[in-house]
């Protein structure tokens, strides 16, 4: 859903001056309520959180700002496995989403014909069934005695994944494989929709031209289609990776204590242990890590005009 709108049609911004309006304050009045809302309930909380992360104290005695930067260091040294896991799981899910999502996006854009809208509806509609209900359904699908485990066992895939450490014993549930499977599933539409919007904009005649110049289908894809779909690839990977790295629902419902991600730690610290400074420091580190990674990624992929 979200992301149909993610890559807006790049219509040229009108060169001619916008129609004259009386009053130069109009844009500010239009902006005021919404921007105020974001400043008070999005930006200001970040400031509060920054201050919380350098406080010490307890719930009974109250917290005080003591510029205790040690919290950051402690949080990192205690929870680096969860951080690494978050990056690894979210990265794996993003790659899988790209591999799985690209053919479907391509199918909708070029091959679906009059079925196009039907397929699009089928991609978007699951969004309206609560994602928690659907994630719980994976418990049934991946259950220990279930068909998936049986099939993987017969094909000896589980032997390989056991050896790689993705699964343990004869089960998929409560292993990293289950968590990555859930993450991939949950964020797949966030990949498909931007891919579809950028593929749909490609002129079909370019494919014909490539064919006329004796390019094989795969060469056409490699040299024409894929480069032209880069904006979709970039926004799709970001829209998948960022939410996946902060997610704790999949790791909680489909994983075990060995698959906890940083989101799980933040949730527990904040809502159960009530250690606010550590929780605040953890979410600040997560935010910083993501901002850095995203900036580097956008630099490298060269799509600066994302916003």
């Amino acid at each position: 859903m979200a992301t149909v709108t993610e890559a807006p049609p790049r219509a040229p911004e009108p060169d001619s001056k916008p129609p004259r309006r009386r009053g130069r304050l109009v844009p500010y009045w239009l902006l005021l309520p919404g921007i105020l809302w974001l400043l008070v309930f999005f930006a200001l909380p970040m400031v509060y959180q920054a201050s919380t992360s350098v406080q010490t104290g307890s719930l009974e005695e109250g917290f005080k700002v003591t510029w205790h930067f040690q919290t950051y260091w402690n949080a990192l040294s205690d929870y680096w496995p969860q951080f690494l896991r978050s990056v690894a799981y979210a990265g794996a899910a993003t790659v899988l989403c790209l591999l799985l999502g690209y053919p479907l996006a391509y199918l909708i854009a070029f091959r679906a014909g009059r079925w196009r809208n039907v397929v699009l509806v089928l991609v978007i509609a699951p969004f309206f069934t609560s994602f928690l209900i659907r994630t719980l359904a994976w418990k049934t699908i991946l259950a220990d005695g279930g068909p998936v485990v049986g099939a993987l066992n017969t094909l000896h895939v589980l032997d390989v994944t056991n050896w790689l450490g993705f699964t343990a014993g004869d089960r998929v549930l409560a292993t990293p494989l289950a968590v990555v499977c859930g993450l991939t599933y949950n964020f797949l539409p966030f990949m498909i929709l931007p891919l579809y919007t950028s593929l749909e904009r490609i002129d079909g005649r370019l494919h014909e031209a490539a064919g006329d110049l004796y390019a094989k289908p795969f060469t056409t894809f490699r040299k024409v289609t894929f480069p032209l779909s880069m904006p979709g690839v970039v926004s799709g990977t970001l829209l998948t990776f960022i939410p996946a790295s902060g997610d704790y629902v999949n790791a909680d419902l489909l994983g075990s204590t060995d698959t906890r991600m940083v989101g799980n730690v933040i949730q527990t610290q904040f809502l159960r242990i009530l250690d606010y400074p550590t929780a605040a420091a953890l979410s600040f580190i997560l935010m910083a890590a993501i901002l850095i990674m995203v900036t580097l990624y956008i630099r490298r992929s060269g799509t600066e005009d994302l916003v």
């Binding site: 859903m1 979200a2 709108t5 219509a11 009108p14 001619s16 916008p18 129609p19 902006l31 309520p33 919404g34 921007i35 809302w37 974001l38 309930f41 999005f42 930006a43 909380p45 509060y48 959180q49 799985l100 053919p103 479907l104 199918l107 909708i108 091959r111 509806v121 089928l122 509609a125 699951p126 309206f128 069934t129 609560s130 994602f131 928690l132 209900i133 659907r134 994630t135 719980l136 359904a137 418990k139 049934t140 797949l188 539409p189 970001l238 960022i242 939410p243 902060g246 997610d247 989101g263 949730q267 904040f270 606010y276 605040a280 979410s283 997560l286 935010m287 993501i290 995203v294 916003v307």
Partner: protein, 266 residues
């Protein structure tokens, strides 16, 4: 040999359909298990066919209450985010003003932030202000994170709109209000509708931000989360199936209306 060639030619279609299957598999499972009669508290294993849950969808304590609370919040959040977001979108596309870049980044950031970070920091604010967690804090949070998505949806539509249409209306002596209501708004309407629909879906389904800022108030996703620990009633699958059907019908009706309108134009 013929089969191999056919397979090669349709590789993309086959791979795409496999992905579509992956996407829809849980929905199939949810639907099938809404007709289950589980033995224990959990509805993860198939036991016996039964239509009990469908005949008594509200038979579980508190579930339908949480459902109606989620609907209420989603309606108000949609209304709030759509009004505020549409105003911002118009300001951004139609006017050149200082701080445009800053406003753009402020709109983009909530979409580029993991939910858990926003959820935790908002809770810090509410705790510091001593706010009572519940309906209002949930609503405030939902409007906050839906806002950016509405702005992007509306902006996309308004940007592709020809400004000369408005100039033409003014040349024909339409006042600013008349121009807005008779020309601008109808053209922007699909974008606004898309933004509103998006906001509704996001708010109705949100779990992470709600989990942090709800206090003891229970929305539908939180009810489902709790039931994952306590035991899942079959009725949850009934609601999930019904939501899927309603969504598909909704979109299909929208498409039929859209098609008819296009045909009228042509």
């Amino acid at each position: 040999m013929a089969f191999v060639r056919w397979f090669k030619r349709n590789l993309v279609v086959i791979a795409g359909l496999v992905t579509l299957g992956y996407l829809l598999l849980p929905n199939v499972v949810v639907t099938v298990f809404s007709f289950n009669k589980p033995k224990g508290r959990f509805n993860y294993e198939w036991q016996q066919f039964s239509t009990d849950a469908w005949r008594d969808p509200c038979g579980v304590a508190d579930m339908c209450g949480s459902l109606s609370l989620s609907l209420q919040i989603a309606v108000w959040a949609t209304l709030g985010a759509t009004v505020l977001g549409t105003m911002i979108a118009f300001a951004l596309v139609r006017y050149r003003f200082r701080a445009r870049g800053a406003v753009n980044s402020l709109i983009f950031l909530p979409m580029a932030m993991p939910e858990v970070v926003m959820a935790a920091s908002l809770l810090t604010l509410f705790l510091n202000l001593g706010a009572q967690l519940g309906f209002w804090t949930i609503l405030i949070a939902h409007i906050m994170f839906c806002l950016s998505f509405v702005v992007t949806a509306v902006k996309a539509r308004v940007m592709s709109m020809d400004p000369r249409l408005e100039q033409a209306a003014q040349d024909l002596y339409a006042g600013p209000a008349q121009t807005f209501l008779r020309v601008t708004l109808p053209i922007a309407a699909p974008g606004i509708a898309a933004g509103a629909l998006l906001a509704f879906a996001l708010s109705f389904d949100d779990f992470i931000i709600t989990n942090f800022n709800a206090g003891s108030t229970v929305t539908f996703p939180m009810f489902v989360w709790g039931s994952a620990q306590r035991g899942t009633p079959v009725q949850i699958n009934v609601i999930g199936t019904a939501m899927f059907i309603v969504a598909v019908l909704f979109v299909l009706v929208g498409m039929v209306i859209g098609n008819r309108r296009n045909r009228q134009k042509a």
